[in-house]
């Protein structure tokens, strides 16, 4: 018996962990599922906190970084990225 990591990435509407989910990705170290780009239209959780309530453990949150001077109106990557994990016995 060993453990494998399942990873859930949630993108939230604000920097608050209880904000609504606007994007999501999954990566499955157990090999039991094969998540892929564009494989679902509905988020797995409504908010980041809802993922905590379902047993996901937060291990990384994006920092709040001020825009570079002169680039205040530029848009680029999603800003509010939260990484969660579950350790699963296989």
């Amino acid at each position: 018996m060993s453990t494998r990591q399942q990873v859930l990435v949630l993108y939230l509407a604000t920097s608050a962990l209880d904000a609504e989910v606007v994007g999501w990705s999954r990566y499955d170290g157990t090999g039991l599922t094969r998540p892929a780009t564009g494989d679902s239209d509905e988020p797995p959780y409504a908010t980041g906190v809802a993922a905590l309530e379902d047993g996901w453990r937060l291990f990384q949150a994006s920092q709040l970084i001020p825009p570079q001077p002169g680039h205040e109106y530029d848009t680029s990557f999603l800003k509010h990225e939260f990484f969660f994990e579950k350790l699963t016995a296989v």
């Binding site: 892929a36 780009t37 564009g38 680029s76």
Partner: protein, 288 residues
């Protein structure tokens, strides 16, 4: 999406390939500026769709980068017929103007039961031109059903400053479009739109023919501007998408205003004071 009542047939002169076209309206252009694409369902006649698979399987000869459109495809060829359809020619003329060049073209095939999906990406490299854009035509010769892995695209992503597949980490975004469409559908994309071919879980090969166009004229008021003052223009430009973060969604409106100013040549255009407010810097002693 273009509906029949939106179309107006005119003759465009002054370009080497004079043809009958149906230009876009201002409202449709604003929709393109907000969404980053224009979808035209079943605009290619079925007789052409019936020929398409054989033509695409045979391959369409490469053309050198930057070949003028009127020289890229021989008279009588399928590709030439496609780009000369009045609704297609009109949309292209409205977006990139007369006499565009062909950047490149490609036939994309997703094999049946093909187990991989492309990462979400923008084509080419990061491209932040504030007052010009390329257009990519995507033509689907057959019906695309949900399990065929139709192109994934993210409405309103085209003004994000990201480089190619650096967005590959994002698997799903609220409000994304997983294309299903009838045969003969054409989608015109802003070059920056995030998109990707999805996994084809069906037993049917999926075809898509893509052509990228470069403008050769300033992209200013190239469409039918008769409805420029229509309040529906601003309404289109205000569109928010479910995947936007609250704060960044406001910046998207700001940046669309700047693009609309470039496309209309109207440096005073604004929506709800977003751009005027942050540019207001009264000088000492002024009356402002």
């Amino acid at each position: 999406m273009i509906a029949g009542h939106d179309r107006k047939r005119v003759e465009i002169y002054g370009c080497p390939m004079t043809t009958s076209t149906e230009p876009l309206t201002s409202v449709q252009m604003a929709r393109f500026v907000a969404h980053g694409y224009l979808r035209m369902d079943a605009v290619v006649p079925q007789a052409m769709n019936d020929r398409a698979i054989e033509v695409l399987d045979a391959g369409i000869p490469e053309v050198p980068y930057g070949t003028p459109l009127d020289q890229a495809f021989p008279e009588g060829s399928f590709a030439r017929e496609l780009v000369r359809l009045p609704v297609v020619a009109g949309a292209l003329a409205s977006l990139v103007g007369p006499g565009p060049t062909v950047d490149h073209h490609a036939v994309h095939i997703r094999e049946a039961e093909n187990g991989t999906a492309q990462p979400l990406h923008g084509d080419a490299i990061i491209d932040v031109r504030p007052d010009a854009f390329d257009v990519q035509l995507m033509y689907y010769p057959h019906e695309v059903t949900a399990d065929m892995g139709g192109t994934l695209s993210v409405p309103g992503s085209h003004l994000r400053r990201t480089n190619e597949s650096d967005t590959g980490r994002y698997q799903n975004l609220r409000g994304q479009t997983r294309l299903t469409c009838p045969a003969g559908t054409v989608v015109l994309l802003h070059h920056g739109l995030w998109h990707g071919g999805r996994r084809n879980d069906s037993s049917v090969r999926r075809y898509m023919f893509k052509i990228r166009f470069n403008p050769t004229v300033p992209q200013v008021r190239l469409w039918d501007t008769g409805d420029l003052a229509d309040p529906a223009v601003a309404a289109e430009l205000r569109t928010q998408f479910p995947w936007y973060e609250h704060a960044t969604g406001r910046l998207e409106i700001h940046n669309r205003i700047l693009l609309w100013r470039a496309l209309t040549g109207d440096a005073t255009f604004d929506i709800d004071h977003w751009t005027t407010r942050v540019a207001n810097r009264p000088a000492v002693g002024s009356d402002a």
